[in-house]
Subunit: 246 residues, 2 copies
């Protein structure tokens, strides 16, 4: 049995997210499985490193699948590129050991989030950023990043209800860079809760705008109260950049 690893770039604007939903043709997983099933002549199920939200993008989503097919990798990649819509691109295809599992073996991920920080919106960034025109105190936002980095219970910065599963996660790094009129946030961590990157970004923006206090971060870690954190910024600014494997 061959185990094939895919590295996938997608513009998620037209999709309901990564994860296949029944027979819907509107998910990235579904689109890729359809092409692979046709190509190999048997039903193929692919395992992604994790879900991405409806409308969110990826530069380096990883997935793998098992197959008996002996089609060579370059031919497989060519078929995927030719038969998938132009907004889903299989950038890399590799044969990996049979035990490789793109979700269980992932040791970390990097996400980016982009904010268009101008009064006037942008025609070109509209689908790839969040338009937030407030004046921002970047130094205060950098101080907030330092508070967020580390191992904490992030439930107050997520879309999760209290659960038996641990909501303790480790963020290794957060950076904020000004790139012209865009603010580019990056998040590196071992794992992220549902909507965690979007709630943290919203909280950082509100701290920068002055509508949330810097010290609220400690309080939210303590209380776990979601409503004390900031807005959930929209999915269109979110990119899964890379999935790490040791």
């Amino acid at each position: 049995m061959r185990n094939i690893k895919l590295t996938i770039e997608y513009d998620g604007g037209r999709y309901l997210g990564w994860q296949r939903l029944g027979d819907s043709d509107k998910t990235i997983q579904g689109k890729i499985e359809n092409v692979l099933s046709q190509l190999t002549g048997t039903d193929v199920e692919i395992v992604g490193s994790g879900r991405t939200d409806a409308g969110a993008h990826a530069r380096g989503q990883v997935a793998n699948f098992k197959t008996e097919s002996d089609i060579e990798l370059p031919a497989m990649q060519e078929t995927l590129i030719r038969n998938l819509p132009q907004d889903i691109i299989v950038k890399k295809i590799e044969e990996v050991p049979e035990r490789f599992h793109s979700r269980y073996n992932a040791s970390g991920k990097q996400y980016s989030y982009y904010v268009w920080n101008e009064t006037i919106p942008s025609a070109f960034e509209r689908n790839y950023s969040f338009h937030y025109p407030e004046q921002l105190d970047l130094e205060k936002m950098q101080a907030a990043c330092q508070k967020l980095i580390g191992t904490h219970d992030f439930i107050g910065f997520s879309a999760l209800k209290k659960t038996k599963k641990s909501t303790v996660k480790t963020i290794n790094n957060i950076t904020i860079e000004k790139e012209g009129s865009l603010l580019h946030f990056t998040f590196v961590g071992e794992g992220f809760l549902h909507k965690m990157v979007r709630v943290i970004t919203g909280t950082l923006l509100e701290i920068g705008a002055g509508t949330i206090e810097l010290d609220s971060i400690d309080e939210i870690f303590e209380s776990g109260i979601r409503s004390d954190a900031g807005i959930t910024v929209p999915a269109q600014g979110l990119f899964l950049d890379e999935v790490y494997y040791d």
Copy 2:
């Protein structure tokens, strides 16, 4: 009578180009005129600096219109931004002398063209570049730029048939910069014939790929024969960057 100058950014992907076509709702000029006519309560006709092709983009198209309305400029801009689709943005609005005419007074223009020069296509650049995976000899292309700069009869590098109107134009500068996997071409000139930037870019690419000889440029200037020049690259890679006024 007030004369108002607009500087406009648009993602042309969904449109039939700048110029209004009858009652079609599918042109950028038409969209803007509709909003201005509603706002001022009388039919407004705007004059653009020139047409842009179906699917082509602009970072700084310029247009002007005359109006008796006394609505203040900031309110006018806000209404335009709120009522136009998100892919058309009025970046700047100014009152100009009554004699200002955005086409007649334009002294030059800058265009950009982007080429995605990788084997694997890009999900994010697909609507803003031309995917051309051939290996390119950049030095030869730079030499070709030097031949094209200057005053020449560009009819062989355009979509025009022989005409009484002069097809002599002056190109002040052409640059080609590598920006990651993108090649960024810029063209500065006093004026351009229909599809001239796209035919020149196609010719430069074919010279880089070796399917057209460098010396062909001189021959095409001499003969005016369109079929000796390169392909017309698609409009989605083309941006009108700026319109110059003395």
